[in-house]
Symmetry: D3
Subunit: 225 residues, 6 copies
């Protein structure tokens, strides 16, 4: 069966950092993978220039070409300020996309991330895809973003608790290229959002399940019909 996958990314780059290997795997199996981003991912920065904004857009396009997915919408919520909007506005944007493409698998960020945009988005996605009769979406998966999920704390933000591990050993070279596309977002070792850090995480998640490399997800809800 061909899956119709939707990735709801807080910012462009989250999709590649968290699940670049899994995207490639979906594509290689013949699935459709569409993605949307909620903010431009750079608006909260000081010294923001138009060049930076365009650069980020180009990075996102390049990453999507490397991994094989499509950006189908980009909402213009203010970066790092999703807490300044009514949740329902964010929900309605996601619902508008849902009604158009009717995905059966949806990925988004974890409610336990330190980044406030990520946490709000988990709430918005859970609301947009609430399990009403005839809902197209049969599975919601939360991903893990280096330097957002690991920076949370169980007493403050809750805890990411993965139950699904996707082998990405074969897909790793593509993920690495996608990370290169976002090179301005990648930090130096030992930052967890460095290339070494992201590789370390893949190996850590792999070991947890007995394989060389994996991306980890928390499946919130799945329906087998």
């Amino acid at each position: 069966m061909q899956n119709n996958v939707l990735i709801v990314a807080p910012h462009t780059d989250d999709e590649s950092i968290s699940m670049g290997g899994t995207i490639k795997k979906h594509i290689d199996k013949g699935d459709i993978v569409n993605a949307i981003s909620m903010t431009d991912g750079v608006g909260a920065r000081e010294n923001l220039t138009n060049e930076i904004k365009i650069g980020r857009k180009n990075s996102a396009i390049l990453a999507s070409q490397i991994l094989g997915f499509n950006w189908i919408a980009s909402f213009e919520f203010a970066d790092n300020k999703l807490d300044t909007y009514p949740l329902i506005e964010i929900v309605k944007c996601i619902e508008s996309v849902k009604n158009k493409i009717k995905p059966n698998i949806v990925y988004t960020s974890s409610a336990s991330d330190l980044n406030i945009d990520h946490r709000i988005l988990a709430n918005a996605v859970l609301t947009a895809f609430r399990p009403q009769p005839n809902e197209s979406c049969k599975e919601i998966r939360l991903f893990e973003v280096a330097s957002a999920t690991d920076y949370g704390h169980h007493s403050v933000t809750g805890k990411f608790l993965p139950n699904l591990f996707v082998s990405i050993e074969k897909e790793w070279p593509y993920k690495l290229k996608a990370l290169d596309a976002y090179k301005s977002e990648i930090r130096n070792f030992p930052h967890s959002r460095s290339k070494e850090g992201i590789k370390n995480l893949a190996e850590y998640r792999g070991k947890q399940i007995g394989i060389p490399m994996a991306e980890a997800f928390e499946v919130i809800r799945k329906l087998e019909e």
Copy 2:
């Protein structure tokens, strides 16, 4: 002892869906049951007409007549947008009611519901009835609303964990009539907010405690003097 009960409902209809049987039981035992609603419950809808607003108000009045409780205040916060107000404003509205009627038992929605209004209200009620000396309220109970509590997820919203089960077998016919009063809010099976769904929930909660039908509550805090 006659109880002085206050129900703090996010929207009219929540009181009947969640605790219609328990309201009837309170009334039959001679307790006073007052209720307030925070929003009109329809404002977030597209194609909202004045007719819909009036219809909802009439439903609420009819339900209160069937079950025997009184609506004593209706605040005009925007539906599904309690996250756009300072929490303290909502708290102060609840405190104004508290100071007038001095309830000893307070019911409100759970902080684990998917609906953002419900979650904020749990916080507001906990604040308005904080256990200062001479607080009239001796017990806070969270109720469970079909298609709000069951749509939450423990990793995103937390988990409703009931510890009080009220038998409603005898009161069920009245609850059913109250649901009829809100017929525009009731969905078709297998929606969890269908009549069959609400009956199924009552039987599920009943079985958990060894009886035919129950409504379940999470008692947050109780004082026995």
Copy 3:
């Protein structure tokens, strides 16, 4: 792909009560479903006769014929007394079966059940199928048993938190027949292990995901290769 399913049941009857519909679904999709039981399920009773023991065995055989699975081993641990054995003995029995049939999906009872055998078995299965390299098992699913899972309490035993819902509307008649096969284990309404109780649970789990009937599982760990 054909799945090679292993059910590790505390006692015969747990498999049908918890996942009779899902077993039938596996069979209909062409999967292999084998089951083992750890105790005779009746040994803890007073006035135990040989007739009762034979009756229970025959029930188990009949249920397996109705649903299409095979009982491949029956261990003779004392009923309701798994806490009197070293955990490692139970683990080794499960490993002996694992080495023979190399299942890729394993089902067992929840660590949050009230029944002590169920809780110990969850630990034993997690140990027997720990994620070492080359482990055949790619997915561990905990099932929910009426009058064991619902009788637990989050403060004492932990909480069953399902994330997988399997539609069983079509399979329900077969599950009902399997329950009939175990008729001496089935109680009268409103006991949660009555036919009405088990149906109520299926409808409750269905509604949670927007369908008429479901069996719910907690997926502990899954690997997608």
Copy 4:
């Protein structure tokens, strides 16, 4: 309504330390309060003499006279070694008492205590009073024992989370006398099982609910019929 209360104490003294004030309150309201103890409470000590055993029994009798309850059974499980018995044996002892007196409120120790006997007993009581139809017991309350509940740790034993606070300001003098009856079990300040320590706890629980002194309980399950 007259309550028929059963206290299932791990050891004599737990009832007075944890809920001496609440016992007195039940008695003053006309309730019946019976208690059982599972072990002699001293068997695990080195240099145990017959004198110590008799002294403890006399203390228990004296405390019951001060507070007004009855010891109706004393089981001879080995002190601090409840983990060496099959849980079901302990359950059956409790069930034998239950069948005789049919209590409607049951108190026992918390599953989050450091003391292993206390934790096992919480499991046994939950099992003995599982919510089958026609169960007499309508409420299970876990109590808090100085130097057992406070010595636990949320990561190892779980966490006691009280939701019921009983005012004991008026009953405190009686509790103090009952503690005097157990004087060989009471330690010196700043031990949490000193008189000052137990008073401090009563004031701490009182403040949490806005009154001078309280005993705190975790209500596991309650049915209002």
Copy 5:
């Protein structure tokens, strides 16, 4: 080694109520202790006069002199309304202080407090001091504020779970003086923010660790280099 301590207080008075003894202890060991407050702590009150505002400032100065710490910044966010600002604005204020003084130990309020300002601040501090390479801060400690932390509820706000206890028997007289400095904020017994209430809490936390008096903290994250 001399510690460079930063206290991020929601309102002036929180630092003395929660950790007055620990501040004195830091000072006596030769550590530097700086503090900032986010709001004026009185703005949410009705009948607010300029006198009240000045009085509160003077109280804060006096308390700092008694305990030996310095107020180095006071931000003018609206009292009890931190939920009306984008989190990132609060974060940036804290980062501006951090960049100036580069603390190695940071204290702030718990994410489980009932007070909304306290909860938001825990999030803001966790964000401002996220563990990037070369972060000066090696330890984050959450403190406990009488009538904020104890008024929370685990099902609504989460639960404060201390793992660090600081002996304050010797420092208690200084803490008491600091509380006197804030006398308009101190309530009468049995309010938990009364002098007796705060002493009771110190003794309660002491007993938990076997000493006469302590202040308790939840260490979120510590690095030993």
Copy 6:
């Protein structure tokens, strides 16, 4: 101040795998580090020979020489069968050591490990070092063992939640040598108990705190006097 450290290891090798770097660090700072093991660590294996037992002992001695700590006792509980002893027997063994050396920092395994010996030991240590007045131990730290802690699952065993990270970049070469001493216990990549696996874990824990390599601990309780 010189620390007097006690490591309570389920089996020899756990100390080096979990905290070899931290041991070295303690030694280099001038602390005393003593260790005890509860079982021989090999008894549960099939085809056990005397050679294997002697080999394991020699490995343990060699590792202690490399890292600089002392084995001061070795209890002969049956490997992987701590669940067959009364908890109090294990507690008494630990207390006998405690009374002799009076450690101020105690390390042991996590109650969330999959290995049953590890979980029981966490309980025993918490009991042996309960916070009575004059207890020498001021801090209890749980360590993390590759292929025991990572093999647990939050729904079955609970979750290891570290709050202390010790930098071990400088000490890594010594840890590696200690692992070589236990070479018969070390598996091949991608097993989590391979050298690469243990290095990956050190880097993962490092990144979480912004440094190259760390060992992580859960501090259960600490007293600062």
